[in-house]
């Protein structure tokens, strides 16, 4: 069976977000979206470095940190396997980001009704947007 995996992701070299961090975030979101499933191998350091045009060391650093966080684990001599993403932790982070966004909205004088409307709309649309 032919399976097309949409793997490539964009790295912004000029961003203030470190490149290893961008790689980590992208791998996590690929796991969350189900592109990489627990127990499956993710691309080798070498092949990912080649595919997204990033240095070996940078990918190695991202993988090492993902390993420390328990998102992936090293299979001796074979590569890295997905363990899973700590969803609770990500939810916490997302809520913190939302809080910051809400504070910004409040500062701009946006009412609670408007905010509620926005949230309800997203839920109606199926939270894909």
């Amino acid at each position: 069976m032919l399976e097309v995996i949409n793997l490539w992701f964009y790295i912004d070299f000029h961003s203030h977000v470190p490149i290893y961090q961008q790689i980590k975030d992208n791998i996590k979101s690929l796991i969350l979206r189900g592109t990489f499933k627990p127990g499956e191998f993710i691309p080798s350091i070498r092949s990912l470095a080649h595919d997204i045009g990033v240095n070996l060391n940078t990918v190695a650093r991202a993988y090492k940190e993902l390993e420390t966080e328990g998102v992936i684990r090293a299979e001796r001599g074979e590569g890295y396997v997905v363990v899973g993403v700590d969803v609770e932790n990500l939810k916490k982070q997302a809520l913190e980001e939302l809080r910051k966004a809400v504070v910004k909205c409040v500062k701009l004088g946006i009412s609670i009704e408007e905010l509620k409307n926005q949230i309800e709309e997203v839920f109606k649309d199926g939270a894909q947007g």
Binding site: F13, H14, H16, V17, P18, I19, Y20, Q21, R46, A49, H50, G53, N55, L56, N57, T58, R61
Partner: protein, 279 residues
Amino acid sequence: MVLKVENLKKYYGKKREIRAVDGISFEIQEGEIFSLLGPNGAGKTTTIKCILGLRKPTSGSIQFSGQYGIAYVPEGKELYENYSVERMIATAEELTENFDAKRCWKLTEEFNIPFREKLANLSNGEQTLLYIALTLSQRADLYIFDEPTLGLDPIARNKVLERIRAIPIENEGAAVLYTSHILSEVEKISDKVAILCNGKIAEMDLLDNMKEKFCSIVLENVKLPDLPFIVKYKSTSSENVYITYRADAERLGFECKPASLEMVFEAVIMNQVENSNKG
């Protein structure tokens, strides 16, 4: 470790009053792409010439370890003008140990260099590309590029940067020492960056760490907090923007805003110039 430079000094002039390189130390590890970044006259080329043994250091030590040696693309490129590209590659194959002519042909094709042409008839950009192709076809432990993209168009430049990036991927254990004053290039390919200014290393770290280490803070016209590193980046009528260490800013409860490498670079250079004026 491929290269270790310790307290390197190179002074010129009758009284050794020109301090081109003034006590710099750094290490390059296997697989690492290391960039020397700095304004013109910072001491980048002199450092490289000392490493290659083309200049005798005033003091300091340089240790290289590896089995294949160093491959080098100088800032000013000189090739045999009467040779054709074909003959140049054949000659390089004869004269250079561990030279892969097939690979060189492939690179020549990739860089669109007309291979029957005499070198004298190539454009400056094409000559640079040929030099880079010759260097990339040599197996070395350390590849040194001094401003390799000077005079190249954006497409050729990206091809070269991609080839440089691939060096540690294609040659197990090989490292790169790269100099440039073009920030966007350095950002794209470096693991580690040393910012050179007036012959000294003003800042050195992994590029990713540098992005995390610094931030900008906005202060109204108040008395400056006493911090180990704080440089004014910009002023408006009522506020000043400063670049400082993120850890210090957070400790003092300032709102940290991002600082691009460009901002950090400028701040680090300004700070270094200020300090050397004081000293």
